[in-house]
C-alpha cells in the first residue's frame, strides 16, 4: 500500500490502520469513514455519531471480523459501504473499491445509480442478519435464486448456475423447491449466502448472519463464509458480536467500541494477547475467559464523551499513562487506540 498517508489529512491514524499488516492489495480500502445521523430537522434534536474515523482494508482471501457490542455502529458501517443509509445520514471519508477489470471508485462518493447497477450484488454481496425477513415468503428458494442470477448475470445458463450455487453452500437440491417458511433456520441462512454469491462478488459483507442460531449452525455458517475467502479468494467482512464465531474464522479482527475502532490486527495476536482494555474485557466475559462482565454501559452515541469512549468503564484508567486520545496508533503487529505502555 503506497500513498495512504497522503490521502486524508482528517484521519491519518485510521488511514494507516487501513494499510494494516501486509498481504495482497486490498479490494476495499476504507479510510476515515464517519457517519452522523441528524435527528429532527437539521439535527436540532441531536446528532448520532454512529461511526467515527474508521479505517480498514478488505483483502482477497482474508476474513476481517468486526466485533463489538450491539449498538456500537457495526451495522451502520456496512450500510454506509453499500449506500443504504437513510436520508438523514451524513457520510465522510473514502471507501476505495479496486476490482480487476473495473475502474477504481470511491463507494462513498458514487451515485446511487452506479451503486445499484454496478456494485451491489455484483461486486459486494450482502449476507443479511435475518434470513426470515430477507427472503420473499411467497416464492420458493429456487425461484429467488434464479431471479438473482437472471438479474446479475445476463445471458448465463440460469438453472446450472442456481444448482451450482446451491451446491457451493451445501443446500440440498430439493430445498430449492421449498418456500422460506418450510426451511429450517440454517437452510434459510444458506439460501441468503447463495443469494449473496449469485453475482459472483469479490467482496462479501455478512452483517450478524448468525444471530439467534444455535452453536453448530453458527459454526457451519461462519465456516461457509470463511471458505469463500480461503477457497474462492473473496474478501469477507463478517460483522458480529459473537466472539467465539469470530475467533473461529477470523484472519484479521477489528474491535469497535462507541463508534470507533479500538484495536485492529491479526486475529491470533488480538485474541491471544489483547492490548486494548475493552478487547481484554470482551474476552474476559466469555465463559472460557473468566465470565466477568465489562462493568458499566457503553456511552450513548448521541452524547459521546470527548476523547476515549471507553474511559468511563476502563479498569486500568487511573493507573496513569492514559492520554485519553482515541486515535489508533501502531503497536507492534497491530493498531490500538490506547497509549498504555508498552505502546
Amino acid at each position: 500500500m503506497t500513498g495512504v498517508d497522503a490521502v486524508t489529512g482528517a484521519a491519518p491514524a485510521a488511514a494507516r490502520a487501513a494499510a494494516g499488516p501486509g498481504g495482497p492489495a486490498p479490494v476495499l480500502d476504507v479510510q476515515g469513514l464517519s457517519v452522523r445521523f441528524l435527528l429532527g430537522r437539521g439535527g436540532r434534536r441531536g446528532i448520532v455519531a454512529a461511526v467515527t474515523d474508521v479505517g480498514f482494508a478488505l483483502r482477497p482471501g482474508r476474513v476481517l471480523v468486526l466485533v463489538g457490542e450491539s449498538g456500537c455502529g457495526k451495522s451502520v458501517l456496512a450500510s454506509a459501504l453499500l449506500g443504504l443509509l437513510p436520508a438523514n445520514a451524513q457520510v465522510r471519508g473514502r471507501a476505495l473499491l479496486t476490482v480487476p477489470g473495473l475502474p477504481e471508485r470511491d463507494l462513498l462518493a458514487a451515485p446511487e445509480r452506479e451503486l445499484a447497477t454496478q456494485v451491489r450484488g455484483r461486486v459486494i454481496g450482502l449476507v443479511p442478519q435475518s434470513a426470515a425477513s430477507h427472503l420473499t415468503p411467497v416464492r420458493t428458494a429456487g425461484a429467488q435464486l434464479a431471479e438473482a442470477v437472471r438479474t446479475l448475470r445476463s445471458g448465463a445458463a440460469v438453472n446450472a448456475l442456481v444448482t451450482g450455487l446451491a451446491e457451493r453452500v451445501s443446500l440440498p437440491i430439493d430445498a430449492l423447491q421449498r418456500f422460506p417458511h418450510e426451511l429450517s433456520g440454517g437452510m434459510a441462512q444458506r439460501v441468503t449466502v447463495a443469494l449473496a454469491l449469485a453475482g459472483d462478488p469479490a467482496v462479501v459483507l455478512a452483517d450478524e448472519p448468525t444471530i439467534g442460531l444455535d452453536r453448530p449452525l453458527v459454526d457451519r455458517t461462519v465456516d461457509l463464509l470463511a471458505r469463500l475467502a480461503s477457497d474462492e479468494g473473496r474478501a469477507v467482512l463478517l460483522i458480529t458480536h459473537d466472539l467465539r464465531a469470530a475467533r473461529r474464522v477470523a484472519t484479521d479482527v477489528a474491535v469497535m467500541y462507541a463508534s470507533r475502532l479500538v484495536e485492529v490486527g491479526p486475529a491470533d495476536a488480538v485474541f491471544s494477547d489483547p492490548r486494548h482494555p475493552y478487547t481484554a474485557g470482551l474476552l474476559g466475559a466469555l465463559p472460557s475467559g473468566g465470565f466477568r462482565p465489562v462493568p458499566g454501559h457503553p456511552p450513548e452515541l448521541t452524547a459521546l464523551p470527548a476523547g476515549c469512549g471507553f474511559r468511563p468503564r476502563c479498569p486500568v484508567f487511573g493507573d496513569g499513562g492514559c492520554s485519553n486520545d482515541p486515535a489508533l496508533v501502531r503497536c507492534g503487529d497491530r493498531f490500538v487506540a490506547c497509549r498504555r505502555p508498552p505502546c
Binding site: S70, G185, I211, G212, R244, L282, A285, P287, F291
Partner: protein, 213 residues
C-alpha cells in the same frame, strides 16, 4: 421442587413434540437444558411456566399438582415461576418505558405500592441506570432490554426461574452480567433455575448439571 413426570405435549393432535419427559428443578440449583434447535426445549419451558397444558402428566410445584394452565392456573402457582424469553423485543410492550415493563407484574397482582422501591432495587442489580429506565424499548439495545426482562421476571420474587435462551441475542459481556444476577438469586435466595441454551460451553459454567433433550 418444580417438576414434570412422564409428560407428553404437542401442538397438533397425534404429533407430540415431547413424549415421556421427566425433569426436576430443585430450589437453589441450576439445571441446564441442552439440545439442538427444534428439539422441544422451549415447549418444555412453556409447560413448566404453566403457559401450555401438557397432554399427559402434570406440573408439580413444591409437592402440589398444578391444575390448569395460563389464566386457569391458580395465581400463587403462576407467580412462583418466572420466565425470560429469547427475544426481548417480542416479549415487551413497545409503548411502555423500561420501568413500567419491570413493574407490570406488580401492578397485575395488586402490589403497585411497592413498585417504585422494588423496581429501583432490581434495576440496579441487573445494571440499568435510572436514565435507561425512563426509555422506551426502541431507545435501548437488545442487551439493555433483556436486562429489563430479567428484572421483570424476578420482580415478584419467584421461587423458580426459566431462562429460555436468555442470552442468545446478546453479547458476551451482557451474557456474563445476566447470568451472574441469576446465579446470585440461586445462591442467596434459593431460586431454582432452568437454564435452556444450545451453548454447552455456557451451560458448563452456569449450571450445576446439564440434561439433554
Amino acid at each position: 421442587m418444580l417438576s414434570v413426570r412422564g409428560m407428553a405435549v404437542g401442538y397438533r393432535r397425534g404429533e407430540p413434540v415431547l413424549d415421556g419427559v421427566d425433569l426436576d428443578v430443585q430450589p437453589g440449583r441450576t439445571v441446564g437444558l441442552a439440545g439442538p434447535s427444534g428439539c422441544g426445549k422451549s415447549t418444555l419451558a412453556r409447560v413448566l411456566a404453566l403457559l401450555l397444558a401438557p397432554w399427559q402428566g402434570s406440573v408439580e410445584l413444591d409437592g402440589q399438582q398444578v391444575s390448569g394452565s395460563r389464566y386457569a392456573a391458580p395465581v400463587p402457582a403462576r407467580t412462583a415461576v418466572g420466565l425470560v424469553f429469547q427475544q426481548p423485543r417480542l416479549a415487551v410492550d413497545p409503548r411502555l418505558p423500561l420501568h413500567q415493563i419491570i413493574a407490570e407484574p406488580l401492578h397485575a397482582t395488586g402490589r403497585s405500592r411497592q413498585a417504585p422501591a422494588t423496581v429501583a432495587e432490581l434495576a440496579e442489580r441487573v445494571g440499568l441506570t435510572p436514565e435507561l429506565l425512563g426509555r422506551l424499548p426502541h431507545e435501548v439495545s437488545d442487551g439493555q432490554l433483556q436486562r429489563a426482562c430479567l428484572a421483570r421476571a424476578l420482580v415478584l420474587g419467584p421461587r423458580y426461574l426459566l431462562c429460555d435462551e436468555m442470552t442468545a441475542m446478546v453479547d458476551a459481556s451482557t451474557t456474563a452480567a445476566l447470568v451472574s444476577v441469576v446465579r446470585e438469586e440461586a445462591d442467596q435466595r434459593g431460586l431454582g433455575v432452568l437454564a435452556i441454551s444450545h451453548d454447552e460451553e455456557l451451560l458448563g459454567i452456569w449450571a450445576d448439571h446439564v440434561v439433554s433433550l
